[in-house]
């Protein structure tokens, strides 16, 4: 929403102050100033010139040579990058020596060998509209050589570009912004009633309105005008519209827009001759009903759209969104029906969104226009049109639907202070509210009061809404800042702490945290050797972002491939992230996974990693069970157990999957369900005082069939060794022809010790034998000599 300072001052003439200060005040009121710009200054030196001839530049395609007459009858050559002018057009010429609004200085200079004696300007370059592309073509009839400001009636002004929140329908108008600003500045704000002269046949005899959708249309006002101007609007009006970003079209359209910007009330004109008997009606559309809108597009409507119909119940306009083509004003139009109505915000929002027809008008209706401004908006149009020769029939047709009752809210003074943290009196609150139209009336005692919500604040209906207004007008920056004190100790949950410990462990091991996108493309999971696609996104912008992941594997594989393609092999990455492996109740099941990918490493690197992770988390009975896992190398994969329960998988990525990702190295993989792992039984074993007696180490090597895992043998030893066995660890593995196919040697170091004595040779020998017997009998193993 763009507003000009001069326009604001028509409602509050005493608004004073530096533009930057005013911008700060507007922002503090919740009308954030996105851009502050100056209109007018910098245009000195820009004059009206006539195009005498154009010809190609001998040495450049993108610019051509334009001869202009800047009033002295001489042909002045200018190089120009825009081609939209014709001989005889009037254009703005920035003469040599001019400093442009953007700070650029215009000098006589050569461009590719040709002299340029100034610059022709686009609308954007001189602060008139947004057009950067073409040179601004001026109206005929201006005197050559006249300063542009004089010729166009431009006065220095300040333009504020405001960001208006959805709860501020009132601030979608110059009047509303002026009201807020005047209230904060403590200056007078006044709306002058438009002067209306009426003549001829009464409006009621020339037009009629019936409302068949009284909740959708709560008010529908109509005036009838004759002798409407057919030419352009006056220069001052066009300048203002240009400044706020609205291209001038013709007097009728410009008047309509001007009133909308000024008062916030969108309005529409119908060619009276094309509306039989001047009869208009409002109803909801029929499903499938067709209507050709002003833009020439045939629209198919739904029963949620509101339409304006003629006497024959034919739709002639899409209410609040776009008029119909059949009653459009043309150059020959002499008489018009002028409509200003109130439409249901949600209906307008839905229709505008569905049809992609959001406009300045629909934006105002969506927020909720002011039903009480309708007569004044009509009158303002009439007043401005009269200055251009239009005449107006006496009277206004004021049809009403279900007009909302005025809202009165009881406000408790202590409640306001309790929410805001202020110590304002009832009188002080009243003094803040009254200037923005919230009329206050004393309540039963000094501790509460009644507030009448103004009709232009449809967003306000409850006490908290009024409290917000008190806070806003008082100024958030004027509220004393305090910090609440809690008795609660701030902490992370054990799970949150574990997550941090895991991240510290992994980074300490040289593994870097990656962050792949959580979306997958269809088929990504299959490419990674995983099952079918999981949950899909119903409205993705691109197919690559349409599948929710069931595993972190596709993302990390892609990351490894990305790095390998850039000549970085051997990367080690991890991710902790959510997955949706399927199932669920009201919501899909969501699991937090931890995955580690070790490029250039073998499967056992993943086992080592898992062991360290399990030890770090003090997982109870962590284990690995060899066996195939989808998408992993069938001979180099296994399940990961915590406390006997499967919590994940590890191994090496299946070579076929690696081929699909164009990865040329072995890749070790570990993925665990972090939630399951952290919830599984965990905890340190009971404390055992270190023995004060010497320990004895025994090495045992067994020939063991390949099907038996080293872990299983170690577990058997651990069980057989009993109390005296302090530790068992694998220290050597080898295969040889001697050992035979399908068997290998596993060598373990066993450490025996007792807490209360030095073990004697016989005890150690007995324990050793027990272990040997257990392994050989349990696992089809033999002791190597």
């Amino acid at each position: 929403m763009k507003v000009l300072l001069s326009w604001l001052r028509e409602f509050a003439p005493d608004i004073e102050g530096e533009p930057e200060h005013l911008a700060g005040v507007l922002s503090d009121l919740g009308l954030a100033v996105e851009e502050l710009s100056h209109v007018g200054p910098g245009l000195d030196g820009i004059v009206v010139a006539e195009v005498l001839s154009t010809r190609p530049h001998p040495d450049a395609d993108r610019i051509h040579l334009v001869d202009v007459d800047a009033g002295d009858g001489e042909a002045l050559q200018v190089c120009c990058g825009a081609f939209n002018m014709a001989v005889g057009d009037l254009v703005p010429l920035a003469t040599v020596g001019t400093t442009m609004p953007g700070g650029m200085e215009i000098a006589r200079r050569k461009m590719r060998g040709e002299w340029s004696n100034g610059m022709l300007c686009s609308g954007a370059e001189i602060g008139m509209g947004d057009d950067h592309e073409g040179i601004l073509i001026l109206d005929q009839g201006l005197s050559l050589g006249a300063p542009l400001t004089e010729a166009l009636g431009i006065h220095p002004d300040v333009l504020f570009d405001l960001e208006v929140n959805p709860n501020r329908p009132d601030a979608m108008s110059v009047m509303g912004v002026a009201r807020d600003l005047a209230a904060r500045l403590g200056v007078a704000f006044a709306v002058t009633a438009p002067g209306v002269e009426e003549a001829g046949q009464p409006a009621a005899e020339r037009a009629a309105v019936s409302i068949a959708a009284p909740d959708f249309c709560r008010r529908f006002g109509v005036r009838v005008l004759d002798n409407v101007p057919s030419g352009p609007s006056p220069r001052w009006m066009a300048n203002r519209l240009l400044a706020v970003g609205q291209r001038p079209i013709n007097a009728v359209v410009d008047l309509s827009n001007y009133v909308m910007f000024e008062l916030g009330q969108p309005n529409h004109t119908y060619d009276l001759d094309l509306v039989p008997e001047g009869e208009l009606g409002v109803r909801m559309a029929h499903k499938g009903e067709q209507l050709t809108t002003l833009d020439g597009v045939e629209r198919t409507l739904t029963s949620y759209d509101g339409v304006i119909v003629n006497r024959d119940d034919e739709a002639i306009g899409l209410a609040g969104v776009m008029g119909g083509a059949s009653t459009e004003i043309s150059a020959g139009t002499r008489s018009v029906l002028l409509e200003a109505a109130w439409w249901d915000p949600m209906t307008i929002a839905r229709t505008a969104r569905r049809l992609g027809l959001r406009s300045e008008a629909s934006a105002r209706f969506e927020r909720g226009a002011d039903p009480e401004i309708i007569p004044m908006a009509l009158d303002r149009f009439v007043e401005l049109a009269a200055a251009l020769g239009a005449t107006t029939s006496p009277g206004m047709i004021d049809a009403t639907g279900n007009r909302p009752a005025p809202i009165t809210v009881r406000v408790r003074t202590p409640r306001v202070n309790a929410i805001l943290g202020t110590e304002l009196s009832t009188d002080e609150m009243t003094a803040l509210l009254e200037p923005i139209g919230f009329a206050c009336e004393a309540g039963g005692d000094s501790q509460d009061f009644k507030v009448s919500i103004p009709s232009w604040r449809i967003d306000s209906a409850t006490e908290i809404d009024v409290i917000e207004e008190v806070g806003r007008l008082h100024g958030y920056s004027n509220i004393a800042r305090t910090v609440p004190v809690t008795e609660q100790a701030g902490t992370l949950t054990p799970q949150q702490q574990d997550r941090r410990h895991i991240r510290a462990l992994l980074t300490g091991m040289g593994i870097t945290e990656a962050m792949p996108l959580p979306f997958l493309a269809p088929g990504d999971l299959a490419r990674a050797g995983l099952g079918d696609d999981g949950i899909t996104v119903t409205n993705p912008l691109v197919a690559e972002e349409s599948i929710m992941r069931t595993s972190l594997r596709p993302g990390l594989l892609k990351a490894v491939a990305y790095n390998a393609a850039r000549r970085t092999t051997g990367v080690s990455l991890f991710e902790i992230g959510r997955t949706n492996p399927g199932g669920g109740g009201e919501l899909p099941d969501e699991h937090e996974h931890l995955a580690v990918i070790l490029a250039g490493q073998e499967a056992t690197a993943a086992t080592t990693l898992w062991r360290r992770l399990a030890r770090h988390l003090a997982a109870t009975n962590p284990g690995v069970v060899n066996g195939p896992v989808d998408g992993l190398h069938p001979g180099r994969s296994g399940q990961v157990l915590a406390d006997g329960q499967p919590v994940g998988a590890l191994g090496e990525i299946d070579p076929q999957v690696l081929d699909a990702y164009e990865i040329d190295e072995r890749v070790a993989w570990l993925e665990v369900d972090l939630g399951a792992l952290l919830e599984a039984d965990r905890g340190l074993a009971p404390y055992r005082a270190p023995s004060r007696y010497p320990s004895s180490d025994i090495d045992l090597a067994f020939t063991v069939p390949d099907e038996v895992s080293a872990d299983e043998v170690a577990a058997t030893i651990a069980q057989a060794g009993g109390e005296l066995l302090a530790s068992v660890s694998l220290f050597d593995v080898f295969r040889s022809e001697q050992l035979g196919e399908g068997r290998r040697s596993l060598a373990y170091t066993l450490r025996f010790e007792a807490a209360d004595r030095t073990l004697n040779d016989a005890e150690v020998a007995a324990a050793r034998q027990t272990c040997i017997d257990a392994v050989t009998t349990t696992h089809n193993a033999t002791l190597r000599g």
Binding site: S27, D28, L29, G30, A32, N165, P166, R168, R350, A418, I419, T462, I464, D465, I467, G471, Y476, S477, I479, A480, R481, T482, V483, P484, V485, T486, Q488, A489, G490, T491, L492, Q496, R500, R503, G508, M509, G510, T512, E513, A514, P516, L517, F519, I535, T536, V537, T538, N539, P540, L541, N563, R566, T568, S572, L573, R578, E586, L587, P588, E590
Partner: protein, 331 residues
């Protein structure tokens, strides 16, 4: 047999001649061993008269002591020389390193996330979490966005095919965690909820369909807008450092009223628009089963990703998601 004094002289000579600890050891054996003249002389003492024996014995003992001292001193010299020689032989050029183990790095988002958590934990907050795939109710309904409310359009929501169409979505903000916490916990409540959020957005330098936010929620007996402003200010000082201040500007969110945007002012006077905040709307309290006449609260939220970009001087959001090790390894 040689006189004891001569033995001392001889020991001195031989010790000086020895050039290694091993050679000195042989000298020690020769001079003080079982077959040494000294031992032989001691054995011969028994043949002397008591007086002469005493005198000769003292002489022998003195010689023995002198020889031991000579040998010990020489041994210390030789060991020191040997150690020095060994150390010299072991000299290393400490820059001859061929392979540096890779460092692991936490992602910049995680680093920023953890720093933010730490600031709020230090202020007495706990950290709450919620699902990334959310129900329409928690994402909108419980937060005072009625069905069809235009404010829902401010969020370009991604929906998933789960349950009835339009009921299950990828959360567009971390605010649903507010509602979940209030449903499950009796006030007073002091929590922050960092998390991942989603929007239908085309990836470019400043937009991603996935991003991270942190949400704060305080519910207590007499929590005020002044408390909110003070909390934002305290956070600003703690996270950004001295010289940074904050301001609140009126704004609009369905789930808070009064609502505000909060901006951070850098020491050079420029502003950074950081996030949104406000007093918990009475309708939200009621939707979550908390009596708004008994409890008051505030909530705030802001983006983590942009903070990470600013903190590390990164100029394109997409870099966060490429997983290029040359990017990840810098932080």
């Amino acid at each position: 047999m040689a006189e004891p004094e001569q033995l001392v002289v001889e020991a001195e000579r031989q010790a000086a001649a020895a050039t290694t600890v091993d050679e000195l050891s042989a000298v020690r054996t020769a001079m003080t061993g079982k077959r040494s003249p000294l031992v032989a002389a001691r054995k011969a003492l028994g043949d002397l008269e008591p007086d002469a024996r005493k005198e000769a014995g003292q002489t022998l003992n003195a010689a023995k002591t002198a020889i031991d001292e000579i040998l010990s001193a020489r041994e210390a010299e030789l060991s020191a020389a040997a150690r020095a020689e060994q150390l010299a032989a072991e000299r290393l050029d400490l820059t001859e390193v061929t392979e540096l183990a890779a460092d692991g790095h936490l992602h910049v988002i995680t680093q920023t996330w953890q720093e933010l958590e730490d600031v709020f934990v230090g202020m007495g907050y706990r950290v709450a979490e919620g699902p990334e795939i959310e129900s329409e109710w928690y994402n909108f309904g419980a937060l005072n966005f009625p069905l069809g409310h235009p404010a829902r359009d401010m969020y370009d929501t991604l929906y998933v095919d789960y349950g009835e169409p339009g009921t299950t979505l990828l959360r567009t903000h971390t605010s649903p965690v507010q509602a979940r916490v209030m449903e499950n916990q009796e006030p007073p409540i002091y929590v922050v909820a960092p998390g991942r959020c989603f929007r239908q957005d085309t990836a470019d330098a400043t937009h991603m369909p996935v991003f991270h936010q942190i949400e704060g929620l305080v519910v207590d007996r007499d929590t005020t807008l002044g408390d909110l402003a003070g909390t934002i200010e305290a956070f600003t000082a703690a996270y950004f450092g001295p010289g940074f201040t904050s301001r609140l500007r009126p704004s609009y969110f369905p789930f808070t009223e009064p609502s505000a945007e909060f901006d951070i002012q850098r020491p050079d006077g420029t502003w950074l628009e950081l996030g949104g905040c406000g007093m918990v709307h009475p309708n939200v309290f009621e939707a979550c089963g908390i009596d708004p006449e008994q409890w008051q609260g505030f909530a705030f939220g802001f983006g983590i990703d942009r903070l990470a970009l600013i903190r590390f001087g990164i100029d394109d959001l997409r870099e966060l998601w490429t997983n290029d090790i040359r990017f990840l390894g810098q932080f």
